[in-house]
Subunit: 658 residues, 2 copies
């Protein structure tokens, strides 16, 4: 008989009971500590705590605490418009860095903008517009110091595909639908940020994004074969099979050797400058200005040779002047409203994913904090304003942000500088782009999107997690062989399936005692850990919820059956105690409690006593609320596995002697 005190622990008082001396094999035996039962929290408190942890875990109101009202107003304005904060400390030395960075990204963005607008089936000027207004808005509202705002390849491709599905790009409704989608992309982003639902974009896993981006890069590069080879009749589809078929079926009389010559030679030049930039980080500006130089040289070349008369396609016309208003073109009624909303929501989410990933990366490098939700509000506002000034969805660009960072930008002023250069371009230089060959834009885009293919990341994913690799490849092949949407769908589905797998089939492990310690560990991981005769110790590696409660119960019973067979074969003592190590069981719900009750009853019929070790705060609370703690017996719940074994073993010996 054990003389262990088993009174109920009342409230927060802790009852330290000493194991009776008969069990004391060693003088230094640790005290048997009872499992702590914290006072039940007030319901409202518990609820607000959960709410806070879900939506406000970053405690955005922290700086406002205990401040006078006027200060609160200032802080509030500063939080909405960070420029009010960093602008006060802005000085000339910072501007120098921003100026150089801004000029560099401007020279990179102008040719890219024209090409990306083409990807979205939009006129070239809309690409430039999108590099003028949105960066200005972001500079006022955004808090990332390194992000470069403007149109990006993947979003342009996605938007182009989705819009083309609804209406042909030659119709005037196409442009209106594009603005509608941009408007709702902004609304989606602001909504997610305002309601602090930013965590939703975390549901696209890193692996899925890597695959999706690589697939999109291949797809975009394939699309450029049209411009690079000078093909006039080209498929509307984006999958590799259709595109390759389109390319080869036109090989005989559809290709234009002059175009190919220009395109391929400049592509080689661009890739060479990229290589130089990679080899020597200090020469990062070489690949950054190379596109602009290519545009200038090739335009000049076409202009003097009149290559357009030999079948080299040229840009022809870009509308001159600043962004015209477009609020009146947005569909606020009619069937296009819903379509625009749907397309905008998808494009907005993808744009967010890219911008937030960039923001986080550079914030971590320069060690400043970034509020994801506030960023979303800034990006969303910028797209809403953009949709009313003839822009399409803009976001942070991977490649240009990296150049911005390396060129030594200090604040969002580099975006303002870029924006001013784009404005000048729109006002003055656009007529000069007339003779720019499309092949140059194609080679610029190809060399830009190559950076989206991250082979190293794929290898690392393969090494670390095979399931992640499947998600990555699924997204990649989905985009390449089907459409961007299908790739995206596959990526999201596999990501979700992984979460569901995790919560439906949690791991369980058999624990053994590590030699010369009182530590119990997984015997698979620690082959020198030994089982305790007559006792089976099972660890459950997850919260026990409705989605896995049945599985957990059945799995534990199956461990017991396996163990009993083994014990019988080896003539060892029968299993009399089943200790469930609950350290990783962070929570339990009603279904979980029912499963434990069924487990207890099944074990009881087999004359095996259920013993629990180290239930956490939430769990012990619910074990008491449901009175399962009384059913299993308060004295069968222990602080550690060691304590449990220490108490069970001698009882078992008594049992054998009796």
């Amino acid at each position: 008989m054990s003389s262990r005190v088993t009174d109920k622990v009342e409230g927060r008082e802790m009852d330290i009971t000493r194991v009776p001396s008969s069990l004391n094999h060693s003088e230094n035996l640790p005290y048997v500590h009872k499992v702590g039962i914290p006072q039940r929290q007030n319901l409202l408190k518990e609820f607000t705590a959960t709410l806070k942890e879900t939506f406000f875990h970053d405690d955005p109101m922290r700086p406002f605490k205990d401040q006078p009202k006027s200060r609160k107003l200032v802080l509030g304005l500063q939080s909405l418009f960070p420029i009010l904060k960093w602008g006060r400390e802005y000085n000339f030395s910072k501007f120098k860095g921003d100026l150089i960075a801004g000029l560099t990204i401007a020279s990179l963005c102008i040719p890219q903008d024209i090409g990306y607008a083409n990807l979205a089936n939009l006129p070239a000027q809309n690409g430039l517009y999108s590099s003028f207004v949105p960066p200005l808005v972001y500079a006022i509202m955004g808090s990332s110091r390194d992000i470069a705002i403007g149109p990006v390849a993947v979003v342009s491709l996605l938007l182009g595909t989705l819009l083309q599905n609804e209406v042909d790009h030659k119709k005037p409704e196409y442009l209106s639908l594009a603005f509608t989608a941009t408007f709702f992309a902004g609304i989606t982003q602001v909504t997610l940020g305002f309601f602090r639902l930013g965590f939703l974009i975390d549901f696209l896993s890193h692996a899925a994004i890597v695959g999706f981006m690589a697939g999109a890069a291949i797809t975009i590069a394939l699309q450029q074969l049209k411009g690079l080879l000078g093909i006039r009749k080209f498929t509307k589809k984006t999958d590799i099979v259709s595109v390759m078929h389109s390319v080869f079926s036109t090989a005989h009389h559809g290709w234009n050797w002059q175009t190919i010559l220009i395109g391929v030679s400049f592509l080689a030049f661009l890739l060479f400058t990229k290589y130089i930039g990679k080899k020597n980080k200090k020469l990062f500006w070489v690949p950054a200005i190379a596109p602009m130089i290519s545009v200038i040289i090739s335009t000049f070349f076409v202009f003097i040779t009149h290559a357009e008369k030999y079948g080299v396609q040229i840009v022809n016309h870009i509308q001159q002047g600043v962004n015209p208003p477009s609020a009146n073109k947005i569909f606020f009624t009619g069937p296009y409203l819903v379509k625009g909303f749907r397309i905008g929501a998808v494009a907005g989410m993808i744009a967010l994913t890219e911008a937030v990933a960039i923001g986080r990366t550079f914030a971590a490098m320069k060690d400043y904090q970034l509020d994801g939700n506030k960023e979303m509000v800034a990006l969303g506002t910028m797209n809403i304003i953009g949709s009313m000034t003839s822009c399409y969805v803009a976001t942070g660009s991977f490649s240009r942000s990296a150049v911005n960072f390396m060129a030594g930008c200090n604040t969002a002023v580099s975006n303002i500088v870029m924006s001013c250069v784009v404005l000048l371009t729109l006002l003055v230089i656009t007529p000069l782009f007339k003779y720019t060959p499309n092949a140059i834009l194609a080679s610029i885009i190809i060399s830009a999107v190559m950076g989206l293919i991250d082979i190293d990341a794929v290898i690392l994913i393969w090494k670390i997690d095979k399931l992640d690799f499947i998600a990555c490849m699924g997204a990649f092949f989905g985009v390449v062989f089907a459409t961007v949407e299908i790739g995206l769908l596959i990526a999201v589905t596999i990501s979700f399936a992984k979460i569901l797998l995790q919560v439906t089939r949690p791991r369980t492990a058999i624990l053994g005692k590590l030699p010369r310690t009182t530590v119990y560990r997984n015997i698979q991981q620690y082959p020198d850990a030994t089982k305790v005769p007559g006792i089976l110790i099972v660890r459950v590696d997850s919260a026990i919820y409705f989605s896995n409660s049945n599985y957990v119960k059945e799995r534990i019973l199956r461990w017991l059956i396996d163990e009993e067979e083994e014990v019988k074969e080896n003539n060892q003592p029968n299993i009399q105690y089943l200790i469930v190590e609950m350290s990783p069981v962070t929570d339990i719900d009603t279904s979980g409690i029912h499963a434990l009750e069924e487990l207890y009853r099944s074990l009881h019929k087999k004359d095996v006593q259920l013993v629990l070790a180290n239930p956490g705060q939430a769990v012990i609370d619910k074990l008491h609320a449901s009175e399962f703690a009384t059913l299993v017996g308060e004295d069968n719940i222990f602080l550690t596995v060691a304590d449990a074994v220490l108490t069970c073993s001698p009882k078992m010996q008594e049992h054998f002697l009796a």
Copy 2:
């Protein structure tokens, strides 16, 4: 300087290093054990292991192992048709129990069938048909010994609502669509079982089912007001507002007092017998035969008084004879095919949920194993055959299974007995039901569905888990105030949201040392646990996946900021080590590794060393694959928190002295 050996552990060899004696505060200090790095598993092995654990965790092939071929065939047949197994040991004493149970549930099911068919807007005979063929099929293929098969209230209501949405029940297509839905319900069930996807139904949480059932019971009871009050014009909607409006707007001239008299007096009688049955468990047969008695008395009463001439509605006509074939009525083409499939899939899933819950409950009571996936195949086959013999979706009934159990059934033979009684009824007695008043059927249904409202379960859910309670109430109010589908949708959505919440916002806890032990526990749960000066110990309570990796990183950094502020206020030593207790971190993916890397870098900038304690098998494997283990330093990964503290504390003292 520490003399701790830091060689790489190679393969499975275990390296036990002793803490240098200078750190030995006590002679009984435990050995510092290294974290076990199991040999990397073969990729294929790993993959099959995951697959097996996901789909075949119950090891269904176990009995087939090492058996001769002929024996395998017998076992295979027995596994498909369990009657071949238990049939061989069947004897007369078992039959006695089954006979009594079968007769009891038959007397209960006949009036219920007629009423439930009415709920599904189907002719009365289809209800009876569904209690003839499906129970026979189940008896041959099913493995539950206690379940009573037939039409049930909730599925009938659901089917009625969904079918009525598509086509009016007065059209002949209605019946055909019902058979189509039944066919696809069966197909869905067989598919889920065959592909071992049975775990999908676990995604409807217990709490959601309790709420859904209670809501459905209220809705069904409200529908019966039509029959009970003798109203002729009644709303087609099922929500409480429409129904109550319909009831009260007809109060003046739509109610029939003769009907009310009959209905209410028999309802009182039925509820009284229920009360008796509850008070004295031995009298369970009283409420079981009461419905049949009510039908007989009331029919006789109407027959002699000709009450139908005073406005009492009667059943009128039930077609006599055995089930006619209906395979030719099923839509295998056309627009109704998709509709039938959709309705069938939903109804099939709900039917499964009910049947599996019943099966599990009684299997646990009598302590036999039930293979959920095999059960699904049996239930599905029975519905497919049913759909071809004029039956609609049948499943296990809560109330009749309980009566079956209490009446002492031993095997599925009780279902065969019931089936035979129903056959006799169809062949001989149906004309006698002509004068049965509808009010009686209404009162039988009301008294039957009251059992679906489980107040005790709701109270328990409230006590145990508030979020479960919200799911429960959401489903309840959704069904009562909107429609069955919306209630179901709410139940599923809240269940999923809960899973997502769990994986997006895992708990974290600060650990402290329990006095006079080397055990570190949550300081919120154990108020007497004390923090170690200069060291912050954080436990992460979940696998670190893409869905929570950012949150986990940010939360840990926030704990550190909070702690640093507190430390500064109290003039305690600065935090120099951050120990992450990883016991509950059962897995990590590429996003998780990235988050850890970012955490490491952020800490490094603050001069805080990251230390990991007890990473599990899957985690340590990936830490090495990604070379994060090298980055953080192999000697900063410990077996236990105690080991980590033991090594960090003296280093810190050196730091102070220097």
